[in-house]
Symmetry: none
Subunit: 226 residues, 2 copies
Amino acid sequence: MSEQPRVLVCDDEPQILRALRVILRDAGFEAVPASTGGEALDLTAVRPPGAAILDLMLPDMDGVEVTRRIREWSEMPILVLSAVGEEDRKVEALAAGADDYVTKPFGPRELVARLEAALRRAQPETGEPTISVEGLEIDLAGRLVRRDGAEIHLTPTEFELLRVLVRNRGRLMTHRDLLVEVWGIEYEDDLQVLRAHIANLRRKIEPPGEHVFIRTDPGVGYRFAE
Amino acid sequence: MSEQPRVLVCDDEPQILRALRVILRDAGFEAVPASTGGEALDLTAVRPPGAAILDLMLPDMDGVEVTRRIREWSEMPILVLSAVGEEDRKVEALAAGADDYVTKPFGPRELVARLEAALRRAQPETGEPTISVEGLEIDLAGRLVRRDGAEIHLTPTEFELLRVLVRNRGRLMTHRDLLVEVWGIEYEDDLQVLRAHIANLRRKIEPPGEHVFIRTDPGVGYRFAE
DNA sequence: CATCTTCTTGACGCTTTCTTGACGGTCGGG
DNA sequence: CCCGACCGTCAAGAAAGCGTCAAGAAGATG
């Protein structure tokens, strides 16, 4: 996800193919065009793209068949396009292994959103890994925190606060840093609100009566244990 | 599904029906006989077979119609039988969702070969398996949900919502994620519609008054229990 | 055209979360 | 030893968010 993935697009209508290339380029992807199913499979085999967008209607073999062939050896995200009236093939396409299904006409933003969602799903947690310290598991992507296997429920503010601390673990975060990052600049002096949420967060993740994960630096700020 | 699948056979001529039963038994299948379209649908609903073989000519409704009805909720392989002279209905039957089409008279080996091919084709669902949690079975490919063995009817939107949640189970899906994936980007802020469908879905799959499968993260989104 | 299913929308009571102020405890300097 | 600065906790009210109901719209079916 760090660079622009290559995306195979396959449609037999030149006009649509061109539109797809523009949409993808604008969204930061590199489009690899094909106009028949056979061509799509060839290009995919030669140099596998990061994802594929296939039209259901193709001159030689339909998108479901192409999907099935790709799925024989690759888990890449596959989106299937169709005209209205082909809706009943949705289940078929998904059963063949497609990740999502977009009905024409579609807006550029919808297509890009679905493509990115599919890529995100295929690439479990790229940017934000699971962190594990002494019985505490923090899955930043899944927004999930566990202690000794038991799930802990955090409010949005608590989670955000924990995220900022953990992302900078070992480093001291000043009161102001935390307030600005979690609440925004207009809260930069509201120390009491920070204290209250730190207290709530500790009650949920710390062993009772101890402060092993979140350390206090009096007069300065907090830090997450390394 | 690993051993001999049950196969529904529907034909109004008792002679043919008997012949089909023998052919299937010899090939290692269990035949479930029906002589009208209505009967076929009833049997299918009560206990879905692994595949169906339907005659085009039936007293009450024809095989194409039966195919269409079954396709509303199931992806099971469907073979359609016809007498000579009905060839023109081939396209119609396939469009309705039939997997293959056999013209009478047919040899036993031909029929069995086609049935097995259809079953093989329907099988490769490695991507979306059946998921089972505490009495709740969700067959994503077959679009089928059961609780304690009893089938639950979900509307298309409800199923789609459940599918997105289940595919990402354990991970939190934000309101926006769900709205974009189920309804499309133009609904990304329509929180109320999400709430309404979550409520309906819960009423159907959750034990009354509890939220064990679909958890709420107030202010953020929903997640399916892991 | 009548009917049935599904989707959408708004209203309302209820729950969760956030904020705020008060209070007691700790620590170091005077 | 006393005092002030700072911290952690608690409780209460305010604000935001949630679940449900019911009614109407939209679409499919026959």
